[in-house]
């Protein structure tokens, strides 16, 4: 212990000393004016501190604000959960719709492609069975071929220059 048992003084103030320590401090206080003064100072500051804080009042509406934001948070979570449920329901509906209509559309596309193939097959047969139409078709094909060749050449030249 130092000459002045100051730390013990603080604990003495708080009534946190053993009976022996307490007697020791009280004996020292009787003979030491500087420790007496310090003790008085510390006790005085404690009183001031308590006095200062006793005047501080919590906002009157704090509980209302707390409960409101707890309520809002729960509502938000509820809404969030609701949104997820809505999304799942939407996807489910879409899926069902797809399953039901998908079969019909698939059948439609399948039927159509069969029709187109048959039409092409029939038209080629028709062209080949009439000689005049066959010659005409060959001439037309050659003409289209030459025209595309010329236009391609011109295109290449213009892009090169």
């Amino acid at each position: 212990m130092t000459k002045h048992p100051e730390e013990q003084l603080s604990a003495y103030l708080d009534d946190e000393l053993t009976p022996d320590e307490r007697r020791e401090i009280e004996a020292h206080l009787e003979t030491c004016a500087s420790c007496q003064a310090l003790l008085e100072d510390l006790a005085g500051n404690n009183d001031d501190l308590v006095q200062t804080f006793s005047l501080i009042e919590a906002p009157f509406d704090l509980e209302a604000r707390v409960m409101q934001s707890i309520g809002a948070e729960e509502k938000r979570q509820f809404a969030c959960n609701g949104r997820i449920v809505a999304l799942l329901l939407g996807l489910l509906t879409l899926g069902l719709f797809y399953l039901l209509t998908g079969a019909i559309i698939g059948k439609l596309i399948h039927g159509w492609s069969k029709l187109v193939v048959t039409l092409i097959y029939a038209s080629s047969h028709f062209i080949l069975s009439v000689p005049a139409l066959t010659g005409g078709t060959i001439v037309l094909s050659l003409f289209i071929l030459v025209a595309s060749f010329v236009s391609l050449k011109r295109l290449l030249r213009t892009s090169a220059s």
Binding site: D14, L42, F53, L62, E63, R65, V66
Partner: protein, 177 residues
């Protein structure tokens, strides 16, 4: 402070009774708010932290297994939020601080050195650790053993820290240089 009635209210709040929880806020808001004012030195911040502390308490109430420890548990939540905020304030650039904080800093620099500091100003100049023990002991009324458990330090540390806090506060309040 902890009576059977309070224990019953805490029990109800734990089971999700909002009315019971509102009752707890009303009973303990003074403790939490005063502690936050002392730690933060700013009323607006203290209001925010108090609100935050109760909301946090509401959602973690199920983890409280001893109803008798409710107030120290609540203050520990508030204390941690205060420390987080003080840390953030240290890192925040000056222009992000509130008007009030800026004003107070300006005041501190311009203060008449002969003018005595107010208790709140004196307190705000102590370290966080010193403020903490002083507030828990003087304002909240916990003894050394309870404080040691709350802030997780040995009993001897509470004793020496409290003494150091008092000496520093005295120095700040009677500063003459």
């Amino acid at each position: 402070m902890v009576d059977e009635e309070l224990k019953h209210i805490i029990h109800r709040a734990k089971r999700g009774d909002r009315e019971a929880f509102a009752d707890l806020v009303q009973r303990f808001k003074g403790h939490v708010y005063r502690y936050a004012v002392g730690m933060l030195g700013d009323r607006m911040d203290a209001e925010d932290v108090s609100q935050e502390a109760f909301i946090k308490a509401y959602y973690s109430l199920s983890s409280l297994d001893n109803e008798y420890a409710f107030s120290s548990w609540l203050l520990r939540i508030a204390g941690n939020l205060c420390k987080d905020r003080l840390k953030k304030r240290m890192n925040a650039p000056i222009q992000e601080m509130s008007e009030e904080q800026n004003g107070r800093i300006a005041d501190q620099h311009a203060a008449d050195p002969l003018e005595k500091l107010s208790m709140e100003e004196g307190l705000s100049r102590l370290s966080v650790g010193h403020r903490e023990v002083l507030l828990l002991h003087e304002i909240q009324g916990y003894n050394y053993e309870e404080i040691a458990e709350m802030i997780d330090v040995p009993l001897g540390t509470v004793k020496s820290r409290l003494f150091a806090a008092r000496i520093n506060l005295r120095k700040e309040l009677r500063r003459e240089d």
